[in-house]
């Protein structure tokens, strides 16, 4: 079995390709069910940022983007969708935190991590950039200044 596993892994890694965004419904802060597939079927670029209220680098990233978000939107029409992966323990903190910080992002709740699991995300923060339903860029982790690199990707594809 373990050799099969190894062989399988090697053959799979030779076939890397761009993937489509999975079709899952998540609730927004008003309790309405939103189809993420419908959100991504747009020629405007969407950034999905997976975060949690307890994840310090995630908050750092979303705070940093919040400072320049207006400019980004004016220049490229990009939209950031902040997908909270908080479960029952910390979910209550999402609304007051988002409003307290004055973030202008669309917020979706992935409470039992269905979307996170479907995209095979293991580490937060995790950013996925989507255009016309296709994933064009992903990034794991956040270091100060990475948002500038992210914006370069957005600008390049928004032409």
């Amino acid at each position: 079995m373990k050799y099969l596993f190894a062989a399988f892994f090697i053959s799979i890694s030779l076939l890397m390709h761009s993937q489509e965004f999975p079709d899952i419904n998540l609730n927004n802060l008003d309790g309405n069910s939103i189809s993420v597939k419908a959100l991504t079927d747009s020629s405007d670029i969407k950034i999905f940022s997976f975060w949690a209220t307890w994840c310090v680098p995630c908050i750092n990233e979303l705070d940093a983007i919040a400072d320049v978000y207006e400019d980004w939107q004016d220049e490229t029409n990009v939209e950031l969708i902040a997908v909270s992966t908080d479960d029952a323990r910390t979910k209550k903190r999402v609304i007051p935190l988002v409003n307290g910080k004055g973030w202008e992002y669309q917020i979706l709740l992935d409470e039992n991590q269905d979307l996170k699991r479907a995209l095979n995300i293991n580490v937060l923060p995790y950013v996925v950039v989507v255009k016309n339903g296709e994933i064009i860029h992903t990034r794991t982790g956040y270091t100060p200044g990475s948002e500038e690199e992210l914006y370069e990707v957005v600008k390049e594809h928004s032409k």
């Binding site: 390709h17 310090v56 479960d87 029952a88 982790g141």
Partner: protein
């Protein structure tokens, strides 16, 4: 001809692969003998020879025929699982397999699935690889949404334990009703939820004082209007038997219940949230004998600690864990549950004000308090009688303030203060446990320089306590060479007299490389014995020294 054939095959495989999502995670450890903390030994598997361990997960999701998805997850724990994973994770096998159908009104799953009813107080199936937790159900589930205001779920399954399943049957039913949609409320929302979960498990006990079928019901209401929201949940569980160290005590049978209330108000620049929860005998396991097991196996419901989850090394030494179960360990140590709550306040001091400065200042405040249920506990006769809203012995409190300040385009700082009370005796069920009070401060600054993504981060931490055992100091230095490449060194040190940690440096250093959805990290260091906590659930990990590596990929 051949060319056409090759082209077609290529096209077909490209199309087939377009619908395939692959995720790979591999975590490796090479445990060393440590001069200070002793030679490597794995107590769970009684092994001192297998120094190299690898946990790997390969997950494939394949979408086909528009509405279908097939999922398999192969897991491998070779030659043995990482330290303190359940011994049930052994070898290589299929961990998860499922076939799912999905349309606008109907969803159906056969095989393994993850479900959650409400906040999970009655049922939650989930996976956390760091915690070694996967309690998916293996069976079938149907979700039907006949209108835009009604959703119905029915399920049956056996719970996953290691590569096997628990020896019981789980039944569940859930309804969600969107009242505001029925009556077309304009600017408020009202939702109701009702759930049932049943556990059918045979027992070897002669003349049991409990039924083989244990029933749990949950009712929920969720309201919001403008900037205000409130929600409540009540759960009852029918008579369930007390278990100590895997032994069923037939003469000690009680029902359980839980009450959760949450409310909040927020507007731009300000957020307030308050939660109250009371749990009484709410441990709920797919095998009675596994009640309270240390590997977090067989959990049917989810009762996380409702406290702030901190993200710094010294703030995570004394971590509260929800006391949902009945504990009758000793005449001096009896519990039936917990009662308490927490408050969060978020405030953004505006730009351009004296305290806000050029970029504004962000504040986050949290306070939580948890206690046992007040009442009469009789150890000899195995009975208890508790008040509904009475606060008993204090278990835990935590007050924290976080201040985030951006100084200029290059530099940001975070200041963090935490005051904790930790009742070690009741939280850890440790007879000789202390009442520990701590004050912790953390200062963190990062500074950007040079090209895009280049920065340094410095973090200093200090913990003072009321006992001679704990007096900690710690720090981290991180250098980010680019958005892809980072290096770090950290160390925490206890100059107190605590016999297990005193005068040991718990140091770690390493680096990570990210490219797209691929991440590789390498670390060397000494791990403190303690709790690894993810999402409010904690698992104990032993002290260990060694090299660890992790590879994550998805495509």
């Amino acid at each position: 001809m051949l060319l056409t054939f090759c082209f077609t095959v290529n096209q077909m495989s490209a199309q087939l692969l377009d619908n395939l999502r692959v995720g790979l995670e591999s975590n490796m450890a090479w445990y060393n003998d440590d001069k200070r903390t002793g030679p490597f030994f794995d107590g769970e598997n009684n092994d001192g020879d297998e120094h190299v361990r690898v946990n790997s997960y390969l997950k494939l999701d394949y979408d086909f025929l528009e509405n279908f998805t097939a999922t398999v997850q192969i897991e491998s724990y070779e030659p043995l699982a990482l330290l303190n994973y359940s011994p049930n994770f052994e070898g290589t096998d299929f961990g998860i397999y499922s076939l799912n159908y999905r349309s606008d009104k109907l969803e159906a799953s056969a095989g393994h699935y993850y479900e959650q009813f409400g906040s999970g107080l009655i049922l939650r199936n989930w996976e956390d690889r760091q915690l070694g937790l996967n309690n998916a159900l293996l069976g079938g589930r149907v979700k039907y949404m006949p209108t835009n205001f009604l959703s119905l779920t029915g399920l049956y399954g056996k719970q996953r334990v290691g590569f096997e399943t628990a020896d019981s049957d789980i039944f569940g039913f859930n309804t969600e009703i969107d009242i505001s949609n029925i009556f077309k409320f304009e600017n408020s929302s009202l939702n109701l939820g009702i759930s049932y979960v049943g556990r059918q498990e045979k027992t070897d006990i002669e003349e049991p004082n409990f039924d083989e079928l244990t029933n749990a019901f949950s009712g929920r209401i969720d309201f919001s209007k403008g900037n205000f929201y409130a929600n409540a949940e009540y759960v009852t569980k029918s008579d369930d038997v007390f278990v100590i160290n895997g032994q069923v005590i037939n003469s000690f049978v009680n029902p359980g219940n839980a009450l959760l209330f949450n409310t909040g108000f927020s507007k731009k620049g300000f957020g307030l949230d308050a939660t109250f929860r009371r749990l009484e005998n709410m441990g709920f396991f797919s095998e009675r004998e596994k009640t309270g097991n240390v590997f977090l196996e067989n959990n049917i419901n989810f009762t996380p600690a409702l406290t702030k989850q901190h993200d710094y090394l010294l703030t995570n030494i004394f971590v509260y864990q929800a006391q949902s179960q009945v504990v009758f360990a000793d005449p001096e140590l009896m519990e039936a549950g917990e009662i308490g709550g927490q408050i969060d306040v978020f405030y953004n001091i505006k730009k351009g004000t004296a305290l806000g400065g050029k970029y504004g200042t962000k504040l986050a405040f949290n306070a939580s308090y948890w206690a046992g249920l007040k009442g009469d506990y009789d150890f000899d006769n195995l009975t208890y009688d508790v008040d509904y809203f009475g606060f008993g012995e204090k278990y835990f409190s935590d007050v924290s303030l976080e201040i985030r300040k951006k100084w200029n385009k290059k530099m940001n700082s975070i200041f963090y203060y935490v005051n904790q009370y930790y009742n070690q005796r009741t939280i850890e069920d440790n007879f000789s446990g202390e009442q520990i009070k701590t004050n912790i401060i953390v200062g963190e600054t990062f500074y950007k320089f040079g090209r895009i993504g280049q920065s340094v981060r410095l973090e200093l931490q200090k913990l003072w306590s009321n006992t001679e055992n704990h007096d900690w100091v710690g720090g981290t230095i991180e250098y980010n060479a680019s958005p892809r490449l980072s290096f770090y060194v950290n160390d925490i040190y206890n100059s107190g007299t605590d016999s297990s940690t005193s005068e040991n440096h718990y140091y770690n250093f390493g680096g990570s490389y990210n490219k797209g959805a691929t991440r590789f990290s390498l670390n060397y260091g000494r791990q403190r014995a303690g709790l690894v906590c993810v999402g409010g659930v904690c698992r104990f990990v032993p002290e260990a020294t060694g090299l660890s590596a992790s590879l994550l990929m998805s495509f």
